[in-house]
């Protein structure tokens, strides 16, 4: 299994009752899971305008999830 920490931003935390912004979520995923498996597991649809960042980079749906990684998921932003 893979163990990852998920941090959610914008209105994404509202979907997870009891979400603690300091700790985030810890999830176990099957070995070989990719970013798409993770977003599906979190109930985030492909057409939603969200970004998954892993290890300081924007991840693609077919990127493999790294064991022990912290993944940050946030709505698309354009700067201010």
């Amino acid at each position: 299994m893979l163990n990852v920490t998920i941090k959610l931003y914008g209105s994404l935390p509202w979907r997870v009752p009891g979400y603690d912004p300091e700790k985030g979520l810890t999830l176990e995923l099957a070995r070989g899971a990719c970013i798409n498996d993770l977003t599906t597991c979190l109930g985030i649809a492909a057409e939603e305008d969200v970004v998954v960042a892993m290890a300081g980079r924007v991840a693609r749906p077919d990127d493999p999830v790294e064991d022990g990684a912290t993944l940050r998921i946030f709505p698309v932003a354009h700067g201010g």
Partner: protein, 572 residues
């Protein structure tokens, strides 16, 4: 379609029809062509030859949402280049509703004299003695001016920093709640206004003589389509109203491109204490407004009203760039301190970006430790006191860097970068280096391209082409009066088409996507031409050396776009 010319030498006001050479231009386009035609490029920016231009956008004053953005232009005393600084509030919509294409402030008042310019509901301008307002800060000044001239007015003004002609001085505009908290911050235009002897511009909100539209029906239909597109767009309809521009903080820290501790780290440890989510939570719990309409006709409402623990007003609007410049750059993760610093800058009339970075350089040079909240407040307050340290901070990061002989000064052409590090977002580095404005994130922010996975932010390849495209698009949008945040809604074909139709309906001729791009290109070329005549060459289109020599954690990259590639930006 009239220009109001204000001669500060003789205190005379003259109206004229917009000359053909400037016809069809608005906002940044108009400030660019007018300054290029009328201001000697090598003149002293604080001397009488410079002109200060207030130009609402092409669509300001119409019924279209989010079009109350004003372009204020001049030769910049900070950068020595041509400058357009953009502000919100009500003034652009009000000038548009008075049928005023621009107010051009020329010459210089006799030494020691200070004036207030008023424009009444009929569009008649008058120059009044402003001696009574000397030294006033912007909040007290705005309240006094509204008391004197009536509540149905809106204001653009300077504080003590502008009067003292400091290079980071802003021009503050009043928001929908009449607070002088919107800023044309960049480029020291407040110093130009101070040098001219103009303390404030007071404009009636009751104008009813907007320029006629050539095709009002098409305009109305397209304006409806555009507004609907904004309501459908998740960024403009959900993210910005809930978390404001601070929503950007998660993305930039997640990418490791958030310049912290004077650009020595790419992730700020305390960013989750000052991000959009923390800000909205704090404001809501205290009874402030996490969502607020800062500018007239805005349906996006990215603004907020920050209050203290007792629910008392502190500042509006706490924005991403200020949370960075007064937060991450200084190692301060306390919203109350950042809000206080934001208020002080607005009240003294200072660019929060340049001022925060000036404080960061001083801290990095060892003058005070990073994270020292009280020291940061004292340094900004010192600007209003006019102490020696205050003058250094008020003149920006370059002045501070020279004073302390410190090498790490994140500026281009004297103007500080914004909250995107060129080593973590290489394309933003290209924009900083090559923009006609000096380092300026609004001239061409690449964040959307990176989050959309269209470009790798860490690779040098493709950044110049990307930046060129975005800079042209931004230059065009800055002509329209449309807020750049609402402008993000132009991502859809329907919104794009609606925008082109509205410009066509205003100008009375077909207007296509190519015309829009052409307008952006024209603006950039005029601005660059002015800068070249002022003595700038491609050698000035460079980042400071430390960005090429000091890798930024966590990616440990340096800025790697070659000089040769940077020089291709203007290949169009």
């Amino acid at each position: 379609m009239k220009l109001i010319r204000v001669d500060m030498n003789a205190q005379k006001i003259r109206e004229e029809n917009v000359p053909d050479a400037y016809a069809g231009m608005g906002g940044r386009g108009l400030t660019a062509v007018l300054i290029d035609a009328e201001v000697p490029p090598r003149c002293d920016a604080l001397g009488p030859e410079n002109k200060l231009v207030f130009a609402p956008g092409l669509l300001s004053g119409t019924s279209l949402v989010n079009t109350s953005r004003i372009s204020i232009g001049a030769k910049s005393p900070l950068t020595g280049t041509i400058k357009e600084s953009n502000s919100g509030g009500k003034i652009a919509a009000c000038l548009g509703k008075l049928g005023i294409t621009a107010i051009v402030v020329e010459g210089r008042a006799p030494a020691g004299k200070l004036f207030v310019l008023t424009v009444d509901a009929q569009g008649q301008a008058a120059l009044l003695d402003g001696a009574a307002y000397k030294g006033m800060r912007t909040y007290a000044l705005s309240a006094k001016l509204l008391e004197t001239h009536g509540a149905k007015n809106t204001i653009a003004c300077i504080g003590p920093a502008g009067e003292a002609q400091m290079l980071s001085a802003s021009i503050q505009t009043t928001d929908v709640d009449d607070r002088p908290c919107r800023a044309a911050g960049r480029g020291g235009l407040g110093a130009v206004m101070g040098a001219k002897g103009l303390k404030a511009l007071v404009v009636s909100t009751e104008g009813k003589s907007a320029d006629e539209l050539a095709d009002p029906e098409t305009f109305k239909e397209s304006a409806k389509v555009f507004a609907q597109e904004l309501r459908n767009n998740p960024f403009t309809s959900k993210v910005l109203p809930r978390y404001g521009t601070a929503s950007t903080m998660a993305a930039v820290n997640a990418l490791g491109a958030f310049p912290s501790y004077n650009a020595t780290k790419g992730v700020f440890d305390g960013w989750e204490k000052i991000n959009g989510e923390a800000l909205a939570k704090t404001i809501t719990a205290r009874g402030g407004q996490a969502q607020h309409m800062g500018c007239a006709q805005c349906i996006v409402q990215c603004s907020n009203v920050f209050v203290d623990e007792k629910g008392k007003y502190v500042t509006s609007s706490l924005e991403y760039e200020t949370l960075w410049s007064m937060g991450g750059m200084l190692g301060i993760d306390d919203l109350d301190t950042i809000a206080r610093l934001d208020y002080l800058c607005d009240d003294i009339g200072l660019d929060t970006i340049n001022t925060g970075v000036a404080v960061a350089v001083a801290m990095d040079a060892g003058y005070k430790p990073f994270s020292d909240r009280q020291a940061a407040i004292e340094m900004v307050e010192a600007v209003a006191q006019g102490t020696e340290m205050g003058r250094l901070i008020g003149n920006g990061p370059d002045a501070v860097g020279k004073h302390f002989n410190h090498h790490r000064v994140p500026t281009v052409k004297g103007q500080s970068i914004a909250a995107y590090d060129p080593r973590g977002m290489q394309g933003n580095g290209v924009t900083y280096a090559t923009s006609t404005m000096g380092a300026d994130h609004t001239a061409g922010n690449m964040l959307g391209l990176y989050l959309g996975k269209k470009l790798d932010p860490l690779a040098p390849e493709g950044q110049v082409d990307g930046s060129r495209k975005v800079q042209i698009g931004m230059a065009a949008m800055d002509c329209t009066g449309m807020c750049i945040l609402a402008g993000m809604g132009m991502a859809t074909p329907a919104a794009n088409e609606a925008m082109f139709k509205m410009i066509g309906a205003k100008l009375g001729k077909p207007f296509t996507a190519a015309d829009y791009t052409g307008m952006g290109m024209r603006v950039l070329k005029v601005e660059r031409g002015f800068n070249q005549k002022a003595g700038f060459t491609s050698k000035d289109d460079r980042l400071p050396r430390f960005f090429m020599e000091e890798p930024l954690a966590p990616h440990n990259k340096v800025f790697a776009v070659s000089d040769e590639d940077l020089d291709k930006l203007y290949n169009f």
